[in-house]
Symmetry: C2
Subunit: 351 residues, 2 copies
């Protein structure tokens, strides 16, 4: 019988954090691509555009005028998917027709006054200011809402409708689907093994050294064993930290610095402003914030869509939508050595 | 207190088939779109291209020459994500690092010898031939494999790399993630309520008449109460049918005809060859095919990406990837009357 080699033989892997499986078929990178090619991403964005509602001094859709901010700037989304006062749909009349109330707020956070920068182009102190603003908004909205989702859609390919560097914050009266799954998995792991799932996972990855991308005094970046997107990463604190506001000043500085390194690696990979969706997950907040959430470990997910070049992406369609996530290269192929990540990735992607 | 109106007030809905929630925030269609616009889809495709590996008489990547087929044509995918003989990864050494064996086959099925047609442009007898070919491939591969996933990625926007009308068939030695979720949900519903989930669901939708798109003697097309994609539909037989091969000749003819109607409506909606991913789900097959699968009801899902026009799509990014699916119009807004679907949809989409 042939010996199993992950980089040659398809197999399935389990995501214990989100209770999902992925089909890994590395040999598939060889197939030719004649499908959609994305428009080139190197548009020149003006540093300041008075008609861009995210710029300092610009007028927004609701008539409000932005201050001439010079750091981060947080404001209410003018087209919020969640509003604070939606009425309750009332009891459902049938188990197959269940609707429930959803209340919340949606905010937008500009990272910088200039439209022509991105996080990796910002200085470490500027990124540190973003980390502080994230921690504050979790505290502010987390006082009322059980889940505060910070996420950044970067690049037109990721549905981002404005090039100005920014993220969004959606706080909700309910635990969203993914949060529920992470809650169940982490809770179950803790009660079975007596420690947080992601603490043990981070430790194992440090020992195995097969999927590490970056390490620093306080943080780890790795390609998870169960990664779905080609260049997906997971950013974890080394210490047990449940929520962003708990981070010490040293941990925040170090986070700013490791984020800059990671995002610069991403940009260098295909020599493009690397598109992605990213977001933070931490213990639930709101009125239950005081309960025992020790099974939670703070983390950020990075989900970048590119597969082979700045213009060829991985499509999560067909089989992925109807059956199961599938990836065309192994997580290990992406990170055989973190110092050489870019070279390794390009070698794999152009093989 | 304000009375709840689904078309105005955000709420969350439960998908009992796949155990997932969706955030419905209909008021959000009003937001302006300055994001990515897809390339126009109206490329002229030649009827026959000797260099297209899907055409009759063409030579494929592995050197094989296609026959001069004049109906459907099934062949092995030259770049399969699943192969029949992959070795087993062996036992996992840690609960957070679980991998399992995956074996299978990937086939491609051409619907028609011409590259410049799509299913809605084909005649009903030609579509009926596709239905028969689907039933045969489920029988053939289902003899060995527990899951046979038929799916069609249509359009470059859906990652389709070849314009020739075709679908794919991936058979696997495991139940994929979505299949597992549908198995659990249908099994639980049957044991609690004594009948198949989707039989009761179809009956309820016929009574409620709020989300029907098309009905025929043997089939229903509806926008599910829990739809995620703007123009998502579910195609269901009226009779309790577990798998495609069980369909009678009359049911197959009627299926061909209702598919042609549905896909024509889709094409008319934005006056474009409507992109989508679609696929069939039926009871598991393989060595356990003889077990009791009465809780299963055959169905097809259609997941089209377009939101507002032929070139503006819904992006499932950021919040959707990190937290929960979100939609910008209610399922009911899409189907207030099935005879007027196109007009209703366009009115909503351009509002
Ligand atoms: O097999 P194709 O058409 O080349 O590829 C397409 O469908 C596959 C199955 O859904 C996906 O994994 C690919 O990402 C997509 O581009
Ligand atoms: O809010 P934006 O940037 O206009 O919109 C983008 O992010 C949202 C949250 O992930 C998604 O629902 C939209 O589909 C996407 O286009």
């Amino acid at each position: 019988a042939t010996a199993f080699r992950a980089s040659e033989h398809q197999h399935i892997r389990y995501n214990p954090l989100q209770d999902e499986w992925v089909l890994v078929s590395a040999h598939r990178m060889k197939r030719p691509w004649q499908g959609q090619v994305e428009p080139s991403l190197l548009k020149t964005v003006p540093r300041h555009d008075p008609h861009n509602p995210l710029c300092p001094g610009a007028t927004r859709a609701n008539g409000e005028v932005n201050p001439h901010y010079d750091g981060t700037f947080l404001f209410d989304n003018d087209f919020p998917a969640l509003q604070p006062d939606a009425p309750n749909p009332g009891p459902s009349d049938h188990p197959l027709f269940q609707a429930e109330a959803a209340r919340g707020v949606c905010k937008v956070m500009c990272f910088h006054p200039w439209s022509d920068v991105t996080l990796p182009l910002m200085s470490v102190p500027e990124i540190r200011a973003v980390v502080d603003a994230w921690a504050s908004v979790i505290e502010e909205l987390g006082a009322q809402y059980p889940w505060v989702q910070i996420f950044e859609n970067k690049g037109a390919m990721m549905g981002c409708s404005n090039p100005h560097p920014h993220c969004q914050v959606w706080a909700s009266s309910f635990l969203p689907d993914v949060a529920q799954r992470e809650e169940r998995s982490q809770q179950a792991y803790q009660s079975q093994h007596g420690e947080p799932l992601l603490m043990e996972y981070g430790r194992q990855e440090l020992l195995r050294k097969e999927r590490l991308v970056l390490t620093s005094e306080h943080w780890l970046v790795l390609v998870p064993f169960w990664a779905v997107w080609p260049f997906q990463t997971l950013l974890l604190p080394r210490r047990h930290v449940r929520r962003l506001p708990e981070l010490t000043s040293a941990e925040r500085d170090d986070l700013a610095s490791i984020m800059k390194k990671l995002l610069t690696k991403y940009d260098n990979l295909f020599e493009t402003s690397f598109p992605y969706s990213m977001g933070w997950h931490g213990a639930p907040t709101g009125s239950e914030a005081g309960a025992n959430w020790d099974h939670w470990q703070l983390h950020a997910h990075y989900y970048p869509p590119l597969l082979r070049s700045a213009t060829v992406r991985k499509f999560m369609v067909g089989y992925e939508m109807l059956a199961q996530a599938q990836r065309d290269l192994t997580p290990e192929q992406m990170s055989s050595s973190y110092s050489g990540l870019s070279r390794v990735l390009v070698a794999v992607a152009t093989a």
